[in-house]
């Protein structure tokens, strides 16, 4: 039995040591592991103009402007994290999930003047899943406007059904 106990402690010690090493490594490299920078990080430490970075944040409501330059659509929109906002310019077709109030990740370069030129825009969807009718009912009742951020606390709507949504729509 003694040898088994010793083997158990050996395994525990090895896994604990390895876990600590991995934790310290990840902590040290944590700025490289983040997938995107926030607008306030870009404002505080502007990256070099030739350095490709990813900028993540929420599309500001009312900031989206689309123009057609010949055949290519040119989009301009502001991305914010609540503290700072950066104007993004993107030539091309935006993903289906792109909308005002949506979180997006723009890949590109920051100009010295504060603008951001994106070569790629990815839409980031949140952890909320709800049927269309429930989303409409929440908007009708004024509890939520998707343009201004995430929906209210899930306990207020997670048990709503499509039928609740239809009655709310019929009633208004």
């Amino acid at each position: 039995m003694k040898r088994k106990t010793r083997r158990l402690w050996l395994v525990v010690a090895c896994v604990a040591g390895l876990g600590t090493a991995a934790g310290l490594t990840l902590n040290a490299f944590s700025s490289n592991i983040v997938f995107f920078m926030t607008p306030s990080q870009v404002a505080a430490h502007p990256p070099a103009p030739d350095h490709t970075v990813r900028l993540g944040g929420m599309v500001v409501a009312g900031s989206v402007r689309r123009e057609l330059h010949g055949e290519t659509p040119v989009n301009r929109f502001d991305v914010t994290d609540g503290q700072a906002a950066v104007t993004v310019r993107y030539e091309g077709i935006l993903p289906d999930l792109f909308r005002e109030g949506q979180s997006v990740v723009a890949v590109g370069t920051a100009a010295a003047g504060g603008g951001f030129t994106a070569s790629e825009v990815l839409a980031k969807h949140d952890e909320t899943y709800m049927p269309k009718e429930v989303a409409e009912a929440l908007q009708k009742s004024g509890k939520w406007d998707p343009k201004f951020g995430p929906p209210p606390d899930a306990s207020s709507w997670s048990s709503m059904t499509a039928r609740d949504g239809r009655t709310a729509r019929g009633g208004s």
Partner: protein
């Protein structure tokens, strides 16, 4: 410290009770139908409900239905690896022979669900995020888990002496457990493109219950299915071992020799 040997002895006795291959074969044969049939029933119900009758998401539309396959596979990729790690601990500390066989059988099944998780995630990412793949912390850590499974599958079969393969693979599997918390918490610790968990222990699930129910059934069905496949493989593996030992035994050799003496000599 005084109670330690007693506790270890009692734990060892419990583990070794089920290390007996004959006892496992009898238990496994009784258990098998109770795993297989509920697994099929729940998976078919959950997937049928999720794919055809649950509502579409308000912004993702019908693409959200990939979730009913992706999430159970993701859950099983991690929990299957946890089972592999438990078997490896039993193997290293208690030299549990059945745990060795179980580790060898869990590996390929776990690697398969991880592959399905990565593939469905990629198919889901293209229409929603706008990309098949990004190197964010969640996606990368799950890819590392897939490679850990592949490494384990290769290592446990790499030696002529199976015992050495079991030891080496168990060490690999236990070292790889470091990846499990990284996968789980990657979406909280760092900015990722992958969204955080919808179902947590502390908050109400941020998912309408009309989607949560089919997902729960599907996840339970997949989990039972995983267990059913592993138990079936493990029973086959135990029987294969038995057959090999029987064929190698002196009595069996003598019997074969007496039946076909001339053939035995040429072989």
């Amino acid at each position: 410290m005084n109670a330690q040997p007693g506790l270890m002895a009692r734990l060892g006795a419990v583990f070794h009770r089920y290390a007996n291959p004959g006892r496992f074969l009898r238990l496994g044969a009784r258990l098998q139908p109770w795993l297989t049939w509920p697994a099929l029933l729940l998976t078919l119900t959950g997937l049928g409900w999720g794919l055809f009758f649950s509502p579409a998401d308000w912004q993702q539309g019908d693409s959200v239905r990939i979730m009913y396959v992706h999430v159970p596979c993701a859950w099983l990729a991690s929990s299957g690896y946890f089972a592999l790690a438990v078997c490896s601990l039993l193997s290293l500390v208690w030299r549990h022979s059945l745990a060795d066989l179980a580790a060898a059988e869990i590996g390929p099944v776990g690697a398969s669900v991880t592959a399905v998780c990565l593939a469905t995630g990629s198919l889901w990412g293209k229409p929603m995020w706008g990309t098949w793949w990004v190197w964010d912390a969640r996606l990368t850590s799950v890819l590392v888990l897939f490679f850990l499974y592949l490494g384990h599958i290769a290592l446990i079969r790499a030696f002529d002496d199976p015992q050495r393969g079991y030891r080496a693979a168990a060490i690999l599997a236990l070292a790889g457990t470091v990846d499990l918390p990284i996968i789980k918490f990657s979406v909280q610790w760092w900015n990722t493109l992958h969204q955080p968990a919808s179902i947590t222990l502390t908050r109400a699930p941020t998912m309408a219950s009309s989607m949560l129910w089919p997902l729960a059934l599907s996840a339970l069905g997949f989990t039972l299915g995983f267990a059913a496949i592993v138990v079936a493989r493990l029973r086959a593996s135990v029987m294969e071992n038995r057959a090999r030992i029987l064929l190698a035994s002196p009595a069996s050799r003598a019997a074969r020799a007496s039946v076909s003496d001339h053939r035995e000599q040429t072989v």
